[in-house]
Amino acid sequence: MHRYVLKRIILLIPVLLGVSMLVYCILDLAPGDAADILAPDDATLEEKEALREELGLNRPVLVRYFEYMWKLLHGDLGESYLSPVSVWSAFTQKAPNTLKLGLASVIFAVGTSLPLGIYAARHRGSWKDAISMILAILGLSMPNFWLGLLLMLLFALRLGWLPSGGADMGLRSLILPTITIGTGMMATLTRTTRSSMLDVIRQDYLRTARAKGVTEEVVIKKHALKNALIPIITIIGTMLGGILGGATLTESVFSWPGVGRLIIDSLNGRDTPVVTGCIIMTTMFFSVVLLAVDLIYAFVDPRIKAQYASKSKKGGEKKDGEKAATA
């Protein structure tokens, strides 16, 4: 198990390298750079060149990239081109807001989709199933920003119950963006829950449980759900992993001061260090959450646990073999 975790963490290195390089190079390919944005409108070409020189933008992209990575290796995410703050402090200032919004959305999605998916599976083929699935497809096919705007129109503009944007009204300002992001998640998760439960619901071991006198509720919630949980956890994990970077559109619609908006603003300003830094952090977060999900599998399904154990045992034997060979 420990070996498995270690292996996964080591695998993170090439992933981060690849992601950072891609982002860095793509940003460089985009027309314009930070100097164009920073320089006043009437600046001459020479003045802009001087600014590039000052920012170090005149050197080749690979050199700049490796310089950046070297600093990163020492724990320094670099400085923003546009503002006097470090990338790290810009990120940490926005991240809590995004995490809050993301977690709220996932909790909303899980809370609604598990009951709905189970309900649909238990009534497969009936009108109850059909209505649940229509709800899910509706949620899936509505674009986030559009749903966000509609909600805003109704609850903020028409009814005036909730603020239309910002994060300064505590829980109340969290509600609309949460529903906006959560609806899409809910739709996916409902479909996964339903199909996963359908796989399990006709299994012989549920009949065994019923024959023992287990009540129908316990049969579904304990015996069936625990077996159906793996695909559901996978989806929840992907959602959790994506919350740091995934809410960009919704954050823009609701002027939510989060990482998504920071990335958008920095992109517009060609602020390469901030964009790359944020994406590296997001990637790391995603990978760690996925690793955590893989480890949770082992607790849900003993067969997967056995697999992890046998894998690391095999690795151990190999090492012993190598030792013997060198001796």
């Binding site: 071991y205 065994t208 024959a211 023992k212 015996h223 067969r303």
Partner: protein, 335 residues
């Protein structure tokens, strides 16, 4: 006196699977009863309706598409088709328990075997979680699995051991009535004998009544007091062991015996019953066995035979017995 107590009474049970395009007539108007401590063998080919009958006794026929069309099932005085669900859950596992056919799929892969046995005890007996678990470990030992293995999961067990766990679950609360649905089919021969011994011992010790569902006449001879032979969802012959084995009446029962190897004449060719069981969605108007029966006459094609008593215990459903002097080649005649 005790031994006359009726544990199970099935009257005119009919179960259909109603699919969109067709209706599978799985069980058609069967009746039988079982007293305390008795074992009845339910014999027949695959698809004869044995398992459906068993599931109906627990009211566990998968619905949809399964529908219990008519009949009455009384288990320990409870009308199984009328009791409310809550009472039904009390009866299941406590008064009536079932050993399922396929041990590979009958255990929940994400719970330990002891947890699965303990669950039944926890539901039906007033014990703490810990006591239930302790008792579950005792049950494991009783079926010949060391108690230390109680914390393991089904995938760590062999097929035979899984089957014993399934048996331990069924026996955990000392049911009055045990249904064993082909308990040995999935096992190899060496384990088969052990499992049968196990069931037999429990029966002797606790006075459990058993319904032994099998297609193996050898198992019937070894374990049963009574036999009911099923064909296409009907009971075609029923009687005590001696009746059916030595005074065989129905041509189908005879066919079953003929298709067994004969220990006295090892070179003799096996004599299978030709043809196949009729399509249960489209049963013939007359006797369902008529197309395969070597004794069939014209009347068999159109007339449904009723179960007729030949002695106090022995019944068979065959029209040919209307003719005086008719009997199948194997059967001795009742004096």
């Amino acid at each position: 006196m005790m031994s006359n107590e009726e544990v199970l009474k099935v009257e005119n049970l009919t179960v259909y699977y109603e699919l969109e395009e067709e209706t599978v007539k799985a069980v058609n108007d069967i009746s039988f009863s079982l007293h305390k401590g008795e074992t009845i063998g339910l014999v027949g080919e695959t698809g004869a309706g044995k398992t459906t009958t068993a599931l109906a006794l627990l009211r566990l026929v998968p619905d949809p598409p399964g529908v219990i069309k008519s009949g009455k099932i009384t288990v320990c005085g409870n009308d199984m088709l009328e009791v409310p669900v809550q009472k039904l859950e009390e009866i299941r596992g406590k008064d009536i328990a079932m050993i399922f056919q396929d041990p590979m799929t009958s255990l929940n892969p994400v719970f330990t075997v002891a947890e699965q046995i303990a669950e039944s005890i926890e539901i039906h007996e007033k014990v703490t979680k810990h006591e239930a678990y302790e008792k579950a470990l005792e049950m494991l030992e009783m079926v010949g699995i060391p108690r230390e293995r109680g914390g393991e999961y089904p995938h760590q067990f062999s097929g035979g051991m899984k089957q014993r766990v399934v048996i331990a679950i069924a026996l955990a609360c000392q049911p009055q009535l045990l249904i064993a649905d082909e308990p040995t089919t999935a096992l190899d021969v060496t384990i088969q004998a052990q499992v049968l011994d196990l069931i037999k011992n429990l029966k002797d010790k606790q006075g459990t009544s058993v319904i032994m569902i099998t297609h193996d006449l050898g198992i019937v001879a070894e374990t049963c007091d009574k036999v009911a032979v099923m064909y296409a969802g009907r009971i075609v012959e029923t009687g005590n062991l001696d009746d059916v084995f030595n005074y065989t009446l129905h041509p189908y029962t005879e066919g079953l015996f003929n298709s067994l190897p004969n220990i006295n004449d090892r070179k003799a060719e096996l004599k299978p019953i030709h043809g196949l069981m009729p399509d249960p969605t489209n049963l013939p108007a007359g006797c369902a066995f008529e197309p395969r029966c070597e004794y069939a006459c014209e009347a068999c094609k159109t007339q449904q035979p009723e179960l007729v008593s030949f002695t106090d215990t022995h019944k068979a459903a065959c029209l040919r017995y209307a003719e005086p002097g008719f009997h199948v080649a194997r059967g001795k005649k009742h004096e």
